[in-house]
């Protein structure tokens, strides 16, 4: 197991290098000059020249890239062009925010998606199955920003049940934090719940037709025990993979959800950074996202081994 983790981490190094190179090149290919944005409306040529010098943007791109890489290896992600704040500090701060949103959304997704999938599989081709599928289709198709705005208008503006937007940390003010997380977590988790439901349903259906489930039933086990102890555990393997892939979807969804609910998180950070051509922030964010994906995939592999003992020896 340790060897597996070690091997994976070694493979991660070239991956991260390529990702940062790619992002660096892509950003420089973007039209638009960050300093035309940053130098303010006046666009004083002297100020622009000075800023380009401070941020080394007149060096050849390769020099810029390796200078940046050298700093990153030493843990220095540079400073935001827009506000002058250290990029790493920003990322850590925003990651904390998005992490809370992600956990809440995952709770919604798993809490709705997996039970709904099990029910749909157990009652295949009944009204329960069809309605669960219909709801799932809705959850998958409806755009986040639309659902978000509709919820704000209904729940906050009309009914006045929940605050319309913003963010509080769960550690500083739990009540305010939960009130503000409910709607975004529902919007973001709803779509994921739909995919989880579909996949749980099909995985369960497949497992339920397998020989060992028939054997378990034949030896007279109660149906709940068959489902929970035998079928679900095996059906979970592909679902775990899916959950980790969904993590990516979660981040992508967070970009829109955070905009709608004005949550100062990771997604909002990257959107604002791209529009402001805040190179350092974009690079830092993409690198961290890549690291996040690699860690999640590793986590998935470790989890497979935990739920499926057969994989432990190989």
């Amino acid at each position: 197991m340790l060897a597996l983790i070690g091997r994976r981490l070694l493979i991660a190094i070239p991956t991260l290098f390529l990702v940062s190179l790619f992002v660096f090149a892509l950003q420089r290919a973007l039209p638009g000059d960050p300093f035309l944005v940053i130098a303010g409306e006046e666009r004083d040529p002297e100020v622009i020249a000075r800023l380009r010098q401070i941020y080394r943007l007149d060096d050849p791109i390769a020099v810029q890239f390796f200078a940046w890489l050298g700093q990153v290896i030493q843990g220095d992600f540079g400073r935001s062009l827009r506000t002058g704040e250290p990029v790493l500090g920003l990322i850590i701060q925003k990651l904390g925010v998005t992490f809370q949103l992600a956990v809440a959304s995952m709770l919604v997704a798993i809490g709705i998606g997996i039970p709904a999938g099990i029910i749909a599989a157990r009652r295949k081709d009944t009204l329960a199955d069809y309605s669960a599928s219909a709801v799932a289709l809705f959850g998958l198709s409806v755009p986040h920003f639309w659902l978000g705005i509709m919820l704000i208008l209904l729940v906050s503006v009309e009914l006045r049940w929940l605050p319309a937007s913003g963010f509080e940390s769960i550690f500083s003010d739990p009540k305010a934090a939960i009130e503000r997380l409910i709607m975004p977590a529902f919007v973001l988790g709803g779509g994921l719940a739909a995919s989880l439901m579909r996949h749980t349903r099909s995985a369960m259906l497949e497992v339920l037709q397998s020989d060992y489930v028939r054997t378990a039933r034949a030896k007279g086990l109660a149906e709940d025990a068959v489902i929970n102890r035998h079928a679900l555990r095996n059906a979970l393997v592909p679902i775990i993979t899916l959950s980790t892939i969904l993590f990516g979807e979660l981040l992508a969804g967070a970009v829109l959800t955070e905009q709608v609910f004005t949550i100062p998180g990771f997604g909002k950070l990257i959107v604002d950074a791209v529009f402001n051509r805040d190179y350092g922030v974009v690079q830092g964010v993409v690198l961290c996202t890549a690291i996040g994906f690699i860690v999640m995939n590793l986590l998935a592999d470790v989890l497979y081994i935990l739920v499926n003992p057969r994989l432990r020896d190989s």
């Binding site: 503006v157 609910f261 909002k268």
Partner: protein
Amino acid sequence: MKRFVLLASAALFGLAALPALAQAPSTLRIGLQEDPDVLDPHKARTFVGRIVFMGLCDRLVDIDPELKIIPRLATEWSFSGDGLTLTMKLRTDAKFHDGESFNAEAAKANLERAMTLPDSLRKSELASVESVSAPDPATLVFKLKRPDATLLSQLTDRAGMMLSPKSLGPDISAKPVCSGPYQFVERVQNDRIVLEKFKGHWEADKYQFDRIVYRAIPDTTVRLANLRAGELDMLERLAPTDVKSAQGDKNLKVQSTANLGYQGITINTNHTDAANQPMGKDKRVRQALSLSIDRKVLSQVVFEGLYAPMNQPFNPGNQYLSAALPVPERDVAKAKALLKEAGQSKVSVELFVTNNPVDAQLGQVIQAMAQEAGIDIQIRSSEFASQLRDQQQGKFQMSRIGWSGRIDPDGNIHPFVTTKGNQNDGKYSNVEVDKLLDEARTIYDVAERKKRYDAAQKILQDELPIVYLYNQTVFFALRSNIQGFVINPDGLIRLSGLKRS
């Protein structure tokens, strides 16, 4: 009986709680369209940043709703006879948030920082200042390189804002220490900026709220929804499409003012090969374009008729507007005649627009109107940063762009149409215009200045390097219980006198 005792004590507790409620800190929550940038007045560049500075930092002078310069930290001022010395008398009772006293030495340190800091964005605003001196704590003297009629208006904004000299270090923007009515508490980037009342302010009794929270909510629909839900007390830049529904909501009220800037089409007349086509080379073709546009209908279609049609770079009501140049009526026949005179039966030209829904629609309306006069417009759209860059490099034929506006008329016209102007992206050049506008910025007498602007505008209206279209009205929406909001045309939020009824 027991129940009665319970009720009575509950009522008593309730009453006892009332005064406590009345004393609870009162907070004003303001919704901004963007997250401000660096909170250092000498390096800051965004409009929303200026809104926050209005609470945080005092300025030497201010403007009133008629754009008249009024006292703030400076109580009186005068220019010398040759126009090369500006002497200001300063308040002696103003303090910085760290308890230090404000005086002429402190003002000198700030102005020198603004003029010399490598990444200061205030250099061009203070370009006419040779040196600043502080002969005594209440007197500040500016020596000028040339007479500068725009200087006072620059000092109403960031160039005239004062930071505590003791706090001036590289990290000042993380915790700015100014002398304004509210002091810095915290900032969460992309989310909020919190200020609290500064009790030592010389005018503290005019500020009712204990706390100010500025929240950045870029989406206009969401910002309005937050106001409706009572999460905000007021917001800036209400979308014109939302004005009617906000006015219809009895919990809200809408206030508005004309924006200081202009909106129009900048035409490439002289910059790279892109200018070598009839629109760039022949003023009659540009005149035809201007005549083909019905500015009233444009405002009605795109902005619900809420924006004023305009053909000059100044805001409606501005004292520098030229009365001799009324907004032209649409005249397709005349436009066609002008094209014919220019030897063109059909002109094909590209219009650059920003890729947002409003600008796209604006582009289409202009396209349809110009079509009827024989001008065939192709629309190219891209996001703002790219548009700006292409425009600056001369890679455009026409660009639909505007300007946020400056208090002094010079800032709305000089940089855009003088030969060496920083913002003259079409590279328009006319010796007479240069001379008139260079002169105008050195004349302190309003009537004399206006003569120069009138003369320059007469030429510009004929040659049309920029076709002005409309003035953007600025709308604010407030909860009905918020009283005392006075809007100035700069669109900033002054907190003085604001209260909750």
